[in-house]
Amino acid sequence: MASTLPLLSLLPALAIAGWAAFSPSTALADGMPVGEGLDTEELKRLVHQDCGSCHGLTLKGGLGPDIRPETLTHYEPDILETVILDGIPDTPMPPWRPLITQEEAQWIALYLLNGDAQ
């Protein structure tokens, strides 16, 4: 992971393409690789630092549940994307729609499901 970080930040498009190949069934939307043009390092930081406020820095859970890939494996990416964008009413899970785009939410959903998938 650490050794591949510089590559990811230098060549985000290439890295994402490789990552998309890892999970071809979910990573394509409208024929475009998810993550094209996104600042994926910034999104990862958001996941670990800000989602991490409730779900833990390592995402293994806190006040919010465990959201590591092995825990989320039975969820469809679309469902996760909706939860991220709209939250879950009557729970502390807030809607992130005011802060992120749909495309970013889609990327986060796939990231949560697949991890770094190197």
Binding site: D50, G52, G56, G62, L63, P95
Partner: protein
């Protein structure tokens, strides 16, 4: 980073030599800063405004907190991974470490300094350890994520259940002589209590609620404490905003006659009369407050904010209740700690990897200290404060 490491190595060398000469090391102006991602703490010196050493190997320290032994020599660091680490700040090393749970959130030390309690999310409950040996003294499973653990006078710990809205008072006074922990359970504290505090005199325990408006107080001096609703309608009629970070009540502000508390889901802090627990005022703030902390003399309240407005601090004058200063220390201001007399405030700026020190009278930046993703800052003076 490199000069710091070199300096650190030198300092460590000199310390080892100094110890051999049994040099006295005073700890009253020292403290620790959590480096959350790295699993380390930095030993800091208030008087020199300097970092003295880094102590590593404390596990996952996201959302970690610290209490101190009465002699201000040992720090008990509560890590997110369930680790309880006893750090010897005189010898600048880990004295002992146990992994006591899977997922924990804060702790407390008893008034006599003999017991250390840890609050756990997973498995939910509180575990109480001998402060000297870290041997388990009592295990109190609650079947719920446990929050708002504080000490109270009379060798007691008070804590609250996130899932069930119940508060327990654990009286540990009989345990000394081989007896059991005596538990008093208070149901109906409210929906989703997210954190709690106890006043410095140990009398009033206040828990903030996420699931409904307002807070719930307990009078711990009462023979049978009953939940007292505080500001049950504070957000009524206003559209609630999404909450991206739960506020903290530790380090809550007591300005003499009033408490100041962060509102949940609103851009304001709430002022409450300390005796009647009635609302006295509100101050509109820049964002959703995370910490609202009073300078020790109570004259000012410093407020930081939730993502994405977490680069800013506002200072409120507690007499006029108006914002008298606003500034941007940098990206991701996570925590603030006043020096015990309140002349300075130390601020952790996580995404700039710095702790910044400000004069609280002139607001001048006095010094910056390098730290890796710093979060909580804890001075040893906390050793002598109930609830900290």
């Amino acid at each position: 980073m490199k000069p710091f490491r070199t300096a650190l190595a030198l300092t460590l060398l000199m310390t080892t030599t100094a110890l051999a000469d049994t040099k006295t090391i005073a700890t009253g102006d020292l403290g620790l800063v959590i480096e959350r991602a790295k699993g380390s703490v930095i030993l800091i010196d208030q008087s020199d405004r300097a970092a003295l050493a880094r102590i590593e190997g404390l596990g996952d320290l996201s959302h970690a907190s610290i209490v101190y032994s009465p002699d201000e020599r040992y720090a008990y660091v509560f890590g997110r991974d369930g680790g309880l680490t006893k750090v010897d700040i005189v010898e600048r090393k880990i004295a002992n470490r146990v992994v006591q749970g899977g997922n924990s959130i804060g702790g407390a030390i008893s008034d006599d300094g003999k017991l250390v309690a840890v609050s756990n999310y997973e498995p939910g409950g509180v575990k109480i350890f001998d402060a000297d040996t870290l041997e388990l003294v009592a295990d109190l499973p609650t079947g719920s994520k446990t929050i708002g653990l504080v000490d109270a006078p009379g060798r007691k710990f008070v804590f609250t259940m996130w899932d069930t809205g119940e508060t327990w008072i654990a009286d540990m006074s009989a345990v000394k002589s081989g007896g059991e922990a005596e538990i008093t359970k208070i149901p109906d504290m409210g929906e989703y209590p997210y954190d709690a505090l106890v006043t410095a005199n140990g009398r009033t325990y206040i828990t903030g609620l996420f699931g409904e408006d307002g807070l719930t107080a307990l009078d711990l001096w009462a023979d049978n404490p009953e939940p007292i609703r505080v500001l049950p309608n504070y957000g009524r009629g206003q559209e609630e905003m999404p909450v991206y970070k739960m506020p903290h009540l530790e380090g809550w502000a007591h300005t003499g006659a009033e408490f100041v508390l962060p509102a949940v889901g609103h851009h304001e802090v709430l002022w409450i009369d300390a005796n009647s627990l009635e609302e006295t005022a509100r101050t509109k703030t820049y964002g959703q407050p995370v910490f609202a902390m009073a300078r020790p003399d109570g004259r000012q309240v410093w407020v930081n904010f939730a993502h994405p407005l977490n680069d800013t601090i506002q200072v409120i004058d507690s007499v006029s209740k108006e914002i008298v200063h606003e500034f941007k220390p940098g990206p991701a201001v996570l925590h603030m700690e006043f020096t015990p007399r309140g002349n300075e405030i130390w601020v952790s700026v996580r995404d700039e990897n710095k702790v910044k020190i400000y004069d609280t009278h002139t607001f001048e930046l006095l010094r910056e200290i390098e730290a890796d993703s710093p979060s909580g800052i804890f001075f040893t003076a906390r050793a002598h404060r109930t609830g900290l």
